[in-house]
C-alpha cells in the first residue's frame, strides 16, 4: 500500500475512534505533538499508558478480592486511572472510571465489581484499537524511512 493510502487509513481509523467516543480531542493534541524530533511520540505515550492502565486495573482487581475492601486505596487507584485516561484522550475509559468512583464513594463492593468489569471491557477494546493504530503508524514510518 502506498504512503498516502496508509495515512488516509490511519486518519479514518482514528476518526472512527472519535466517532465511537473511544477517543476524544486530547488524543489529537498528542498526535499534534509528534514531530521529526520525536517521531515515536504517539507510540511512546500509548505504551506508557497501557502499561500503567494494566498495572492499575490489576491492583483494583486485587483490592476488590479482599473481604474488607480498602476503599480509600481504591479511590486513589481510580483517580490515577481516570487521570491517565484523560491525559491520553481515552474518553470512554475515563467515563467508566467515574462509575467506579461513584461505587467506591458509596462503599458498594458489588457496584465496584460491576464497574470494574466495564473498565476492563473498555480498556481491552481500547488496547486492541491502539494496537491496530500503532501497526498502521509503524508501517507509515517504515515507508517514510525507506523513501529517504
Amino acid at each position: 500500500m502506498d504512503l498516502a493510502a496508509l495515512k488516509t487509513q490511519l486518519k479514518n481509523f482514528v476518526q472512527s475512534m472519535f466517532e465511537e467516543g473511544v477517543l476524544d480531542n486530547q488524543f489529537s493534541q498528542i498526535q499534534a505533538l509528534q514531530d521529526s524530533t520525536n517521531p515515536n511520540f504517539v507510540e511512546e505515550v500509548i505504551t506508557l499508558f497501557c502499561n500503567d492502565a494494566e498495572r492499575i486495573i490489576n491492583e483494583i482487581n486485587r483490592n476488590l478480592g479482599y473481604q474488607n475492601v480498602d476503599f480509600s486505596n481504591l479511590d486513589s487507584y481510580v483517580h490515577q486511572l481516570k487521570g491517565s485516561s484523560s491525559s491520553i484522550g481515552a474518553n470512554r475509559l475515563k467515563l467508566a472510571c467515574a462509575n467506579l468512583r461513584q461505587a467506591s464513594d458509596e462503599r458498594n463492593k458489588e457496584g465496584c465489581l460491576q464497574a470494574l468489569q466495564l473498565i476492563t471491557c473498555e480498556y481491552c477494546l481500547l488496547r486492541r484499537k491502539f494496537q491496530a493504530l500503532l501497526h498502521l503508524e509503524r508501517s507509515i514510518v517504515e515507508l517514510e524511512t525507506n523513501q529517504k
Binding site: 505533538l33 491517565s84 491525559s87
Partner: protein
C-alpha cells in the same frame, strides 16, 4: 532549529508523579522552546533547586509547573515552600490539576500561584507561561494580581460556568 549564542532558553522545572503526564508536559514545554527538567515529586523538586542554587549559579529555574495531587508533598505544599523561601520566592509557580474545584483553585492562586491549569494541559495553556517568565526580567514589578480581580485562564473561566457544587 539553531538558537543564537546570546539566546538562552527559559528553564522550566516540571513536577508530576504520573509518568504519562510528566512525558506530556515535558513535550509541551520542549515544543514551546523551553529547557525542561522533569521530576516526580515535590521533594525532588526542592532537592533540584537547592542543589543547583548552591553549586551552580548558572543553572537557573525560571518557572515551576507542578501537579496538585501528589503523594507526600502536594503541589500546594510545594508552592508554599517555594514562596516562603528567600532564595526561590520570586520563581513563578503554576499548578495543574485534573479536578475542577473552585476552592482549590482560589487557594492556590491566593497562595502565590500565577496560574492554575486544568488537566489535560494543552499547548494553549503552555503559551500562557511566557508573560510570567518575561515579567521576571523587569525590575520592581508588582506581580501579584489583585485578589478580587482573579484573571482566570479562559478555560477555567469556561469551567467556572459549570461549577461543581459539593
Amino acid at each position: 532549529m539553531v538558537m543564537a549564542a546570546s539566546e538562552t532558553k527559559f528553564h522550566v522545572l516540571a513536577v508530576d508523579d504520573t509518568l504519562i503526564d510528566r512525558k506530556l508536559i515535558e513535550k509541551l514545554l520542549k515544543t514551546s522552546s523551553y529547557q525542561v527538567t522533569a521530576v516526580d515529586s515535590g521533594t525532588k523538586a526542592l532537592e533540584f533547586l537547592g542543589l543547583h542554587n548552591n553549586d551552580h549559579q548558572d543553572v537557573e529555574v525560571n518557572l515551576i509547573i507542578t501537579d496538585y495531587c501528589m503523594p507526600g508533598m502536594t503541589g500546594y505544599d510545594l508552592l508554599r515552600k517555594i514562596k516562603e523561601s528567600s532564595s526561590f520566592k520570586d520563581i513563578p509557580v503554576v499548578i495543574m490539576s485534573s479536578d475542577n474545584i473552585p476552592s482549590r483553585i482560589n487557594r492556590c492562586l491566593e497562595g502565590g500561584a500565577e496560574e492554575f491549569f486544568l488537566k489535560p494541559v494543552q499547548l494553549s495553556d503552555v503559551n500562557k507561561l511566557r508573560p510570567h517568565l518575561m515579567k521576571r526580567t523587569q525590575t520592581n514589578v508588582n506581580k501579584r494580581k489583585a485578589m478580587d480581580e482573579i484573571v482566570s485562564p479562559d478555560r477555567t473561566r469556561a469551567r467556572y460556568n459549570e461549577l461543581e457544587v459539593n
